[in-house]
Amino acid sequence: MTVHLLGIRHHGPGSARSVLAMLDSVQPDAVLVELPADVEPVLRWIGDTGLVPPVALLGYVVAEPARAAFAPLASFSPEWQAIAWANARDVTVHAIDLPLAVTLARSREAPEELVSEPAPPDPIRDLAAAAGDPDPERWWEDVIEHRGDGAPAFEAVAEAMTTARHGFVPAAAEVQREAHMRRAIRAARRAGHERIVVICGAWHVPALDIDASGALAVPAISVDAATLRAMPKTKVAVAWVPWTHERLTARSGYGAGVDSPGWYHHVFDHPGEEGVVRFFVDAARLVRSRGGAASPDELIAGTRLATTLAALRGRPRAGLAEVLDAAGAVTGGLDVVRRDLVIGQAIGEVPDAAPQVPLARDVAKLQRSARIPMSDQVRTVEVDLRTPIGRRKSHLLHRLVALGIGWGVEVEGRGSSGTFRETWEVCWDPDLSVRLIERAGYGTTLESAATARLLERAGASTGIAELVGVVEQALLSELPGAVEPSIDRLARVAATDPDVGQLLDAMPALAAALRYGDVRGTDAESLRRVVDGIVVRILAGLRAATRSLDDDAAGVMAERLSALHGALAVLDHPARRSALPSVLVELVTRAGHGLVQGRATRLLHDSGNWSVDSVQRRLSQALSGGTPPARGAAFVEGFLAGSGSVLVHDAELLAVLDGWVSSLTGDAFDAVIVLLRRTFGAFEAAERRQLMAVLMGLGVERTIGFGVDVDPTRSASALATVRHMLGLPAVAVAASAVVPEPVS
């Protein structure tokens, strides 16, 4: 009845090889690993072809999934290799550490934070320092990892740790963990196992040696029983989640983060001298694949330099530091090498049938059916909402966003102005797996969880803009359960919000939301009613809202008017035809800020409610003696709205403006020049050139800012499309009609 204590470094590839060598020679009938006892049932999945490392064991509090702890495992983790070895031979595996049910119950004070190991003292650092090496990583690599020779390595570790722990008093939490592990080892022996192998962090080895006596004796059975008595527990579930090498570099859960998982992976797969050569070959291929040059000559030079450096530094074999130094000196291009080889891009997989968080399982299923691969590379996904697969993709991505999981980000794509197209950039980060777990409390399916979260947000928000955002998200995600309640809430808030500005600001988004509803065929009748109500309130409040504005507020208001106008046009809202124009006319004719009046005039002009005559009249009113020049300049700024094309089109408007500028006295001109410069400076250079040409009485190219030679055949096809979009009958357009009439 022997117990072999194998002290390892979590995620140490050399430890993993040594563990395998020991297992092969000892042929144990029980393998005990330092993992929380309650993950034991799911360990049988290790070895299943569908479970591809890196993956993590996740334990979460059932009532509160956001309270969770992770134990990441890579292919080069000793624990992973040992359990796989045992599973392949039907050897008993026990997880012997304190259960998560206890540790998670304890961490109630910090609900938002993931639980991580209380940082242990760094015994390896102490040992390295004792051996005269300031770099603990390197020391361990040289002394243990590079050996990979089984028993002697573990004896060395046990001995070193016994020295390192001499006189050390562990913290209470650690005392409990070690008591629990000892109890499990004793139980395994009682159960009749003959050859027991325990795989644990090197630090714990001296504390788990239940046969030690004298000064090294560990606490007795009765002491351990007392330590473990009556610990509070909570109900915990355990699942597998995919992980990445990238995330292995972060400190979390079991074992410190490793800086170079890709390198460890490489070293595990290719121990021995030839691993260095292989690394350089991989690096060269990578550099070449990125368009760089890397000759075989350089590979040889790199390998030789790494080996020579190792000898110079007195290391048994070239390690990562030598390899990187050599690669840097020989080739350069280290950044890709570091990212792709040293850290690595590996991403794990979890089979369907393995225990998972229900929400995560549902999302994984949807991801497959939407055929968007999980990848940690950014890729672009084009979605066509007219196809079933396109809608599946869109739903999935939008619902995840609704749940606060940004797998995809919608970007301005080539079709983004057309409403049946969406362009997304997707990139899976294991953090999102974590987030998914945190959100698991919202529901067991993506649809129910996203609905619940949107409802929560709707209930909590009091601002119109925020509510419109929720409604929009609900419509985009096609979550009927969230649409109606959030619209109701919007209606209620809109009815009581006194601020017309807020209502105005919400209009573009509301118009867009209504349009999505139309495109997706959702019945958004109730939203239409809300919008109607909001429009009425806006029109009623507009006069008051535009009274006594300072310059900044007037600028904002002018833009809001344009936006309102645009939104009503998108919706083809009836208010656009009569109600809005009559309010605008009032704004123009009553006293008010020049900017607002100018913009209102412009909108009346653009919508065809005012004839060119009326517009000219109003403009010359603003620009004649009775109006202070500064006011006139503001009017011009509001009227032109950042573009001079209206002036190029309409020589008489231009003449009014020209006449006004010419009539200003020197002082008045000085007073308005700043405003005018701002207005005209914002125009396109081509527009300014054209205006200049018109004013100089030169013949002007009659096309507006799009170049000189318009090809009639090509423009005809564009025109045909425009006519089609406007619902006008198609006509053969003569080339001459394409070009606007000559000015003047």
Binding site: S295, A301, R304, L305, L309, L312
Partner: protein
């Protein structure tokens, strides 16, 4: 063979101490002898010391027999190890870096430690020809006797190959492209053809090349990729911290003071710190407390210039001052180094003076000294 007995040393040992600037292998002969005596590690063919001992020579430390080896290069051990290991794998070494980062200095000491001879030197300029690199002719003899070995005047590369020693090429990128190409053959074939005599020189083991090139010169004559591939590159950085830079300046100033037989000047520490601080701040465009951003002058403001500012200051203090290094002794030197472009740099300097120097605690005297230079 003791390093000092090297036949290559053109001046030979300098028993009278008359040479203004002795070669490294002469100046540090005692260190090299001590290292060679204790060095029981394997030496690559043609090397006077093992790679380990070469690294020790550059980085300094106390040997087991009590000999103190002065640090030559102050900086990351890693870089020195890479440089030495490169030469041990018989690939050529290219030291790259901005001006004054000790490229020339390191290459000289490497050659001294490895070959016992730092004099095989090609100074790269636009006028460097293949002949200076390889060999030329004694034309009188050539005309009288026709081509013969006796008429041939070997260049540094020729001699290095013949002797199995390190050859240094300074300012590699300033040499014309075809001269660079000539190096490619030498480095890849390790032979030097002499068509006139219908023969060739095959390099003896121990031959290698250390080249230096300036980062800022990049583009003058870019290294061909063929040549670049023959080199391992080590980039020498600017000193990482103020204290490191102060350490460098202090050491070199002391050494130079001894070499130039300057009288001892005490209490230089404050002024050295000041010079280094001014240079670092202006170089990086940011004050040490990272609160004020600064205009960056055009000059390099290298550690090397800091060394010479302090050395000059000491000379001033010793000969004209009261024997102590004062702000006035370094002010002129600092301003001279900072203001190399009279228009742009004097604006940068003035702003620095008024915005940073004036209000800094304990810098009042220095501020006054700088202001006094204006009037």
């Amino acid at each position: 063979m003791s390093p000092t007995a090297s036949p290559a040393s053109s001046t030979g040992p300098d028993p009278l101490g008359e040479v203004l600037r002795p070669h490294a292998e002469d100046q540090y002969a005692h260190e090299l002898v001590a290292l060679a005596g204790l060095d029981d590690r394997e030496r690559p063919p043609g090397w006077k010391l093992s790679p380990w001992a070469v690294v020790r020579y550059l980085l300094g430390g106390e040997l087991s027999d009590g000999t103190v080896v002065t640090p030559k290069y102050v900086g990351r051990q890693r870089l020195v190890e890479i440089a030495v290991a490169t030469l041990a794998t018989d690939r050529a070494l290219l030291l790259l870096g901005v001006p004054g980062t000790a490229k020339t200095w390191v290459s000289e000491h490497l050659a001294a430690a490895i070959s016992g001879d730092s004099t095989l030197l090609v100074q790269g300029t636009a006028g460097t020809t293949e002949e200076t690199l390889r060999y030329g002719w004694n034309y009188a003899r050539l005309l009288a006797e026709g081509p013969s070995t006796a008429a041939l005047v070997p260049g540094p590369v020729y001699r290095g190959m013949e002797r199995g020693a390190i050859v240094r090429v300074e300012e590699l990128t300033r040499m014309p492209a075809e001269v660079q190409d000539a190096l490619v053959t030498v480095l890849s074939e390790k032979v030097l053809p002499v068509p006139e005599l219908d023969t060739e020189i095959a390099a003896i083991r121990g031959f290698n090349v250390i080249a230096t090139a300036n980062d800022r010169d990049r583009g003058v004559n870019d290294l061909s990729s063929a040549l670049r591939r023959r080199f391992n590159t080590v980039v020498l950085p600017l000193p990482a911290t103020v204290d490191e830079e102060i350490d460098i300046v202090r050491r070199r100033v002391d050494e130079l003071g001894v070499a130039l037989a300057l009288p001892e000047v005490p209490a230089a520490a404050d002024e050295i710190r000041r010079v280094v601080t001014v240079f670092r701040e202006l170089r990086s465009g940011l004050t040490e407390d990272e609160r004020t951003s600064l205009k960056v002058p055009t000059g390099t403001l290298s550690t090397a210039e800091a060394i010479s500012v302090v050395t000059n200051g000491i000379a001033l203090a010793a000969h004209f001052g009261d024997g102590r290094l004062r702000p006035t002794d370094v002010a002129a030197g600092i301003v001279g180094a900072v203001v190399s472009d009279p228009v742009h740099d004097s604006v940068a300097w003035r702003e620095y003076l008024e915005a940073v120097v004036r209000d800094r605690d304990g810098w009042g005297d220095f501020y006054e000294a700088c202001r006094a230079l204006d009037s």
